[in-house]
Symmetry: C2
Subunit: 247 residues, 2 copies
């Protein structure tokens, strides 16, 4: 059993200046692109950005997180019906994929491929970091990466040779995530028990103290993922879906 | 380099009647749940259904695809802010996750975990099949699996010991999927070249003939993924987002 790569996953945010050999990166893509895809339509694309100038333009769209400029390669995984639609039209077939369900189909394709690429990268010794801001500034990323209608960026991976060896972050116990047969909703006691270890970790306690909050949850709601921001960026993302012909 | 598991991926639709040892399945879940998650919020859940009666109820929600009843375990991966919201409220923190951006955040968590579980399963010799109909009948799956507000099913994996050894399906050449630096849109010639091998395969030609169509693309647009169906199920899914408090 070789679950070690998965079990040892760590997010790598610092990379050596060494570039990634093109043959190796293609092997990672070949393996990643074996991920399942709805109806084998492969309605996704990967934008592999290594050019310093394009990375410079991408950086502010990810709130200037330093990994964007520091990593040798930035991979933007996109829901993409553009290629498939063009194929249909050239084949005397009328595509009907300008709707929300088709967006979700393409988003699923893109995200399964992203995780397969992430696993493949770690399997060959590379390090990766998911950048969660892709859905926040999809409009700006569309401009920088020149994404046509039918294409929406879903997530971003920075990738390179690790220059750090961080500890592993905590996870909730498995019984918090996995339900047997049907969903078993959580009682107050369940929640208290399931989050107890997370709340007790020194790093998380420090996080609460540094932010002058009463609880770890308040760090999320009041500092990291605030209602006003979520609502603002929801508006942006829904506008992007309309502009890219999915709503 | 151990990319073989990824490179050898095949969808397994027939399973032995042998059940999956609980310890082994938990190892698969442990490895799968190391997948990256936005802000380590883990806003997803996995419903592990093995009960014959619940599988019987699930079957029609997946258009009676036989894998649902035949596989020993059916895993439904859900975007889930319910658990996190409960934790926030108990921690004197006001969650602001009843919006579209938060739905996408949770959907991404669920899908990265799904692919990590799929890889882990294959790594230990199990076979999996993604069921793409989860987003079509999310409303009915919510009823069967008793999903509370804040929870939406995103994808489903059937899992079990393989009882077939199918050939590998084709993929488009890598240059169809991967763009360098920015998106390079496709010319008519590009499309023709990139889809040529796919169209020339005997299995795909047979598919066209069996369906009395002129082109492979028409099998997709006129038979498999039709505009009217996509529009109908888009309406259902958007209604689900509203009812589950994400729109």
């Amino acid at each position: 059993m070789a679950l070690n790569t998965l079990l040892n996953h760590r997010t790598i945010r610092k990379y050596k200046s060494k570039s990634i050999d093109k043959t190796l990166l293609n092997q990672v893509f070949e393996a990643g692109c074996r991920a399942s895809t709805t109806g084998n339509m492969q309605v996704y694309s990967i934008i592999n950005t290594s050019d310093a100038n394009v990375k410079e333009q991408l950086a502010p769209t990810h709130f200037n997180q330093p990994m964007i400029k520091q990593a040798p390669n930035v991979l933007t995984f996109c829901a993409d019906f553009n290629r498939f639609n063009k194929w249909c039209k050239q084949s005397n077939a009328e595509p009907g994929y300008d709707n929300f369900l088709s967006f979700m189909t393409a988003a699923i394709d893109a995200l399964l491929a992203a995780q397969n690429v992430a696993v493949a990268a770690e399997e060959v010794g590379l390090g990766v970091c998911y950048i969660g801001t892709t859905t926040y500034n999809a409009d700006k990323i569309i401009d920088v990466l020149k994404l046509p209608k039918g294409v929406i960026p879903m997530t971003t991976l920075t990738i390179g040779w690790p220059d750090e060896n961080p500890g592993q972050v905590e996870r909730l116990p498995l019984e918090a995530i996995v339900h047997n047969n049907v969903y078993s909703d959580y009682t107050e006691d369940d929640i208290r028990t399931l989050y107890a270890e997370k709340e007790s970790l020194p790093a998380n306690k420090q996080f609460v103290a540094e932010n002058n909050k009463e609880s770890l949850a308040q760090v999320f709601t009041d500092v990291r993922y605030k209602k006003a921001d979520n609502e603002h960026f929801s508006g942006v993302l829904l506008k992007v879906l309309k502009e890219q012909d999915f709503l």
